[in-house]
């Protein structure tokens, strides 16, 4: 992992602009549920110097309307446009709170950057991203040569996820081709 979990910060939203004349702002939320941008306590700016408590006032066109602590008028709200909002990684908790019991779920932010090794312990690369195109999550692993390999995020293909030690064990599936002429492999 790039940094220790205690010092890492997660981007949860960005100020899209001012709303009204009372200092409210429009926030583009990057959380699974848009209102969860305020669910993890006060947010910080990129440098970590300014902190804001968020109070959600409503939603409009996919954006959250909120008031921030210490922002009282429109001019102050407009000055925040483009500000990225972060929370400490520790504020998210160990596991996603909406995960149903008995399911194996991890934060994507925790998976990205893990070292990928095969069942023998040989390095396969680094997890670059976790994608989902409607058929389950896919781990994108960048190999040392710079190529990208895709693995279905299943118990069979990824038998072990070890966040503490910063690695995932991948058992690469055997690739077989189904060709129109019926020939094998």
């Amino acid at each position: 992992m790039a940094a220790d979990a205690s010092e890492r910060r997660i981007l949860v939203g960005a100020v899209a602009g001012a709303h009204g004349v009372r200092g409210e702002v429009k926030i583009k939320s990057f959380t699974e549920q848009v209102r969860d941008v305020a669910a993890y306590g006060p947010v910080e700016d990129e440098s970590g110097t300014r902190r804001f408590a968020i109070k959600i006032r409503g939603e409009a066109k996919g954006l959250v309307i909120a008031s921030l602590d210490g922002v009282a008028d429109r001019n102050a709200a407009e000055a925040l446009k483009g500000l990225r909002l972060y929370v400490p990684r520790a504020a998210l908790g160990k596991k996603p709170k909406r995960a149903p019991k008995g399911t194996d779920r991890w934060f994507v932010a925790d998976l990205v950057g893990l070292a990928a090794v095969d069942t023998q312990g040989a390095a396969l690369g680094t997890v670059k991203n976790v994608a989902n195109y409607g058929a389950g999550d896919i781990l994108e692993v960048t190999t040392p040569t710079g190529d990208t390999q895709l693995f279905a995020f299943t118990k069979r293909t990824v038998p072990e996820v070890d966040i503490a030690n910063g690695r995932v064990v991948i058992d690469p599936p055997v690739e077989v081709e189904a060709k129109e002429d019926g020939s094998d492999e």
Partner: protein
């Protein structure tokens, strides 16, 4: 115009054979296919297909609620990088 019901769902025949063979082998296999037009059938549930999108084979683990859809629906051919930074927010991934 919708496809006539009497014809049944369209599926490339060789996929059925390959799926049967893969299931019988019991190995952790990914079946690489180009047949994006084929319908996902109940026989495919539990198997993993690598569906070609013109660039690479995206792994598609077939589940029950994908039955009736086409393979191509799960392997987009155009890339949308998104507005969020990679791994941003509290998004989670589920291991099935």
């Amino acid at each position: 115009m919708a496809r006539a019901v009497w014809k049944g769902p369209f599926v490339d025949g060789y996929l059925l054979k390959k799926a049967e063979k893969s299931r019988a082998s019991g190995r952790n296999e990914i079946i690489k296919i180009w047949a994006r037009r084929s319908t996902v059938l109940p026989q495919f549930v539990g198997l993993t297909f690598g569906v070609y999108n013109g660039h690479k084979f995206l792994p598609v683990l077939v589940t029950e609620n994908m039955v009736g859809h086409k393979f191509g629906e799960f392997s987009p051919t155009r890339t949308f990088a998104g507005h969020t930074a990679t791994g941003g927010g509290d998004k989670s991934a589920e291991r099935k």
